[in-house]
């Protein structure tokens, strides 16, 4: 796949294209990535360009493949899979853990107490905010706006501080365990979180003023990479990318897991405000507005959270699920994260398959990027918001 021989850029000549008016043009094949600032990792796009217009785009993935599924089978312990799950979508590790923990709890029929549930919800919603902040910031960066990126990171730091106090880690937490949590939250967790929620609301407005409503930003993202509703569903696109196409679909509401049915929040969808429904701007703004919904959920959860409860109460001593299989899906910041777990009654999983949202979302890229310009490619990749750790697993 990769050419290990040392040589200059490969010259791929396509035969001149006759446009019918006597002028013959030649297309250029160019490799965008795997080392490229805007591929959000090590994605390689094989672009065929007519001038600056993309006539064909083929994503090549796998540069970050470490076969987490094989690792899981070799771990000999279901609990030891959790750190590997963290490393899939490494900017939304909490959500990955939550999905895995819920899948295992359903398979083993474990019920966790309310305090655990509420902490999990708060954590995963905070993680959603952190992840969206990263997505928004890097999207701005792709468009050429540098400053919003750092503004987003300042806020993200605050979330990571909360995580660090609770779990000791800032990126890969191993915090949500099967049947409970690693440990209880510190005493000032509630006040820290409440303070963050309070300070974050004005920042969203600031972000909107600086980036979302910027004329150049809108020009660059509206009407670009339009993903129609039908195509999105057929490709299995999920998460904000799907909602950006105007589909009212959120697993937290439509297929509730954990205790999401207890909260009052809106499902944000794109409306095509600045251009066509399902363009890059719609996908972007869905993320911005979803952060506000996450804040709502966090506020409600903080209010309802019981003070008492042992977070280790339901953690099994030895994890040995009954034979059977389960497909369990949760809503991560990138979309539908599904775990297909087959148990054969032993202590290690027979098969763990993760249906990674980025993997599926990325597969729609060739369909929506043809006819775009090189600069639009960057915008489209950014608006799909992929994490290559999850695409390649």
């Amino acid at each position: 796949m990769t050419n290990v021989k040392e040589k200059g850029p490969e010259v791929t000549l396509t035969p001149p294209r006759d446009t019918g008016k006597g002028l013959k043009t030649q297309e250029m094949v160019i490799n965008m990535g795997p080392q490229h600032p805007s591929t959000h990792g090590v994605l390689r796009m094989e672009l065929t360009l007519d001038g600056e217009i993309v006539t064909n785009a083929i994503p090549h993935i796998g540069y970050l493949h470490r076969c987490f599924e094989k690792h899981s089978e070799a771990m000999n312990d279901y609990a030891k899979v959790i750190p590997y799950v963290d490393r899939m979508d490494y900017v939304a590790a909490m959500n990955n853990e939550l999905g895995y923990a819920i899948a295992m709890e359903r398979l083993m029929d474990i019920r966790v107490n309310d305090r655990v549930e509420y902490i999990r919800i708060i954590m995963s919603e905070l993680q959603r905010i952190a992840s969206h902040l990263l997505a928004i910031g890097t999207f701005g960066l792709d468009i050429g706006a540098f400053t919003p990126f750092l503004y987003c990171f300042i806020e993200r730091e605050k979330v990571l501080d909360i995580f660090e106090k609770a779990s000791g880690a800032r990126l890969l937490y191993n915090y949500i365990w099967i049947g409970g949590l690693m440990n209880d939250v510190p005493a000032d967790f509630k006040s820290d979180t409440a303070e963050f929620v309070k300070s974050f609301r004005p920042k969203i407005k600031e972000l909107n003023d600086l980036l979302s409503m910027n004329k150049i930003f809108i020009d660059r993202t509206a009407n670009i990479g339009v993903l129609p509703e039908k195509v999105a569903i057929n490709y299995g696109v999920s998460g904000p990318s799907l909602r950006g196409s105007g589909v009212h679909w959120d697993l937290r509401r439509d297929d509730p897991y954990s205790i999401y049915d207890r909260f009052d929040f809106d499902v944000i969808v794109g409306k095509g405000e600045m251009g066509t429904l399902g363009d890059c701007w719609d996908r972007y703004i869905v993320r911005v507005r979803e952060m506000e919904e996450s804040l709502k959920i966090i506020e409600q959860a903080l209010d309802q959270m019981p003070e008492e409860g042992d977070v280790h109460e339901a953690v099994p001593k030895k994890i040995r699920p009954p034979a059977g299989e389960i497909y369990c899906r949760t809503e991560t910041p990138r979309g539908e994260l599904g775990y297909y777990i087959i148990s054969d009654k032993s202590t290690s999983p027979f098969r763990v398959k993760a249906r990674a949202p980025s993997f599926v979302n990325l597969s729609v890229l060739p369909a929506i990027s043809i006819g775009a310009m090189v600069a639009d490619m960057v915008a489209i990749i950014g608006s799909i918001d992929i994490v290559l750790g999850e695409v390649d697993r």
Binding site: I61, I233, I326, Y327, G338, R393
Partner: protein, 161 residues
């Protein structure tokens, strides 16, 4: 909303009793095992038939049943309009694992089938782009098979560290 049992009845009415087999005794969720040759027709029927409308393929996973010397593909289907779920399974012998692609029915299957091919060596007939997806194109073996042995050298580089 239809349960797996009801769906099984519909399917066996349409394609015959022997085409699909209901497995409801296992824990958690029941599933239907279908014949490999028919998966494409069944998928099309499930997607287009009024009242079924499985418009979304949630997940497509390859499985290696080493004890039985079989390879399997599991389809998790969902209907966003009818709100029902269905698990389909296809079981094939290990030495001749191929089945029709459903790529034209759900585009989700495009990359997932490539992944199943890459990891398990299951061939999907009629797939438009049947390349490996995660491993390099000239990688040897199918990593997720239970009896997989890592090749020693890859293009002169030692694989085992």
């Amino acid at each position: 909303m239809k349960t797996t049992e009801e769906l099984h009845q519909i399917l066996s009415g349409q394609f015959g009793e022997e085409a699909c087999e209901l497995k409801a005794d296992e824990k958690v969720a029941p599933w239907i095992i279908v014949k490999p040759d028919l998966i494409r027709d069944i998928a099309k029927y499930l997607r287009d038939e009024k009242g079924l409308r499985f418009d979304s393929l949630m997940c497509l996973s390859g499985v290696h049943y080493q004890k039985e010397n079989e390879l399997g593909v599991t389809y998790h289907l969902y209907s966003t309009t009818e709100k029902h779920k269905l698990t389909l399974k296809v079981i094939m012998p290990e030495d001749d694992a191929h089945l029709p692609t459903v790529e034209q029915i759900w585009k989700t299957a495009d990359w997932h089938e490539r992944e199943a091919y890459d990891m398990f060596g299951i061939r999907f007939d009629g797939h438009p782009d049947p390349r490996r997806i995660l491993c390099p194109d000239d990688w040897e073996g199918y990593p997720l098979r239970k009896d997989y042995q890592v090749q020693e050298f890859y293009r002169g580089m030692k694989v085992e560290y």
